[in-house]
């Protein structure tokens, strides 16, 4: 169904349910949908599973969501950063679950969810603690680990620009997880810096086609 254009980030996340899995774009702050995360904090949904590359920085955005006790579990590749004190404290107190996933698996598992792949044999992590207990198989002389799709109920992503058809483009390395998450969630909400008329994005340069974008908000 066609993209809806909403006036506020609060409307865009109004129906996020308790217990949802929420994919949140960004690599550190680049591409992080700050306005949508702030709206999600105001909205109040809890018991969330959050998928992001990291586990929050400083006291704002994702870290603030964690600090409010809204997050049951974080699925990420790199929680530990110099300013990840909110997560660090919750984790050390046993107050939050962590599923640590190699960054490429994080991306590929969401890509699989978006592409209808049921599972895939993956070269990353073989022989390491992150593959323990997982099915492995030797194919063509190389060992692979079986990995499963990672789906979201909601994806919150940041993009540079949307056209009024709902197509998105990103800016530099702020692109990162946005286009992948946009394929992997039942409802995809994009926060953009610019909104242009239909025809304002070159069809050859569209990164996320409108079919993946349910809601857009200018923020």
């Amino acid at each position: 169904m066609r993209t809806a254009f909403l006036d506020t980030p609060d409307e865009a996340v109004a129906d996020v349910a308790d217990g949802s899995t929420v994919l949140i774009g960004g690599f550190g702050l680049a591409g992080m949908p700050i306005a949508l995360i702030d709206a999600l904090i105001r909205q109040g949904a809890g018991d969330l599973t959050i998928v992001n590359n990291n586990a929050g920085n400083g006291d704002t955005g994702l870290a603030a969501l964690l600090a409010k006790g809204r997050v049951r579990k974080v699925i990420c590749s790199f929680p530990r950063q110099h300013d990840s004190w909110v997560f660090d404290d919750l984790y050390r107190r046993g107050a939050i679950e962590l599923e640590l996933v190699p960054q490429g698996n994080l991306a590929e598992r969401m890509r699989a969810a978006g592409a209808g792949i049921g599972a895939f044999f993956c070269p990353t992590g073989v022989g390491t603690p992150l593959a323990e207990g997982k099915e492995t198989r030797e194919i063509d002389g190389r060992t692979y680990v079986l990995e499963y799709p990672l789906r979201g109920d909601v994806a919150l992503i940041g993009a540079l620009r949307a056209d009024r058809a709902g197509n998105l483009v990103y800016r530099k390395t702020a692109r990162n997880f946005g286009p992948v998450m946009a394929t992997a969630a039942a409802t995809v909400v994009a926060e953009v810096r610019e909104l242009v008329d239909v025809g304002g994005i070159d069809p050859e340069a569209v990164v996320t086609p409108s079919i993946f974008v349910d809601r857009v908000v200018l923020a």
């Binding site: 169904m1 209808g116 792949i117 569209v206 086609p209 079919i211």
Partner: protein, 206 residues
């Protein structure tokens, strides 16, 4: 009895406004003629495009811009291009709302046979049919209800090689429209034939 064009119009009328839709090659392409701009329906073509417009005017073909049937088409404002793996990920990932396909046979539970007659001398060709069959949220089939030899094309179980299992949701034919699925075939409307006669000719309970 409906003409092919009337069948196409019926399919178009049942496509929810704002849907992302793939029209298979052959007769399903006629559905496009019945979709209004106001419907907000966006057409996908498997060879890498959303926002496909009508066929190109003769003499104005751009052979870098074709549909799945390799006919020259046009681009609508808001279009997007992408490569084949992304295009099929879009299908297979369940992102299309509707696809419309032709068929040799459809079973009452929604199995589809539309790629191969099974004839020993036939050169098989499948294209994107199997991906579309299992990918779209709803699969509409349009076909004549009976083959030229009079045999029914809506059947208990397909005898032709399958394209996909339990994938068709609606069947639009010259004589009737059906819902098909886990609970079997349900007759929705008939055209120039009554339900009892149709059930008898099909050899099915409807």
């Amino acid at each position: 009895m409906r003409t092919t064009d009337q069948i196409a119009a019926a399919v178009a009328a049942d496509i929810p406004p704002g849907s992302f839709v793939n029209l298979g090659i052959g007769q399903p392409t006629m559905v496009a003629d019945h979709l209004t701009t106001e419907s907000g329906v966006v057409l996908h073509t498997e060879n890498g495009m959303l926002g496909m417009g009508p066929a190109a005017e003769p003499g104005h073909e751009d052979w870098d811009l074709t549909n799945a049937g390799k006919q020259a088409v046009t681009e609508l404002p808001g279009a997007a291009y992408f490569h084949h793996a992304d295009s099929f990920a879009m299908m297979r990932g369940g992102h299309l709302d509707v696809c419309v396909l032709g068929a040799f046979q459809v079973s009452v539970t929604g199995d589809l046979a539309n790629w191969h007659t099974g004839a020993p001398d036939a050169i098989p060709a499948v294209g994107g049919a199997m991906d579309l069959a299992i990918g779209a949220k709803q699969v509409f089939v349009m076909m004549t209800l009976f083959a030229k030899d009079g045999s029914p094309k809506l059947v208990e179980a397909c005898t032709y090689p399958l394209t996909g299992l339990a994938c068709v949701t609606r069947l639009y034919t010259d004589l009737a429209t059906f819902e098909v699925g886990p609970d079997g075939a349900r007759l929705l409307t008939t055209y120039g034939v009554d339900a009892a006669e149709l059930a008898e000719r099909l050899g099915l309970e409807l």
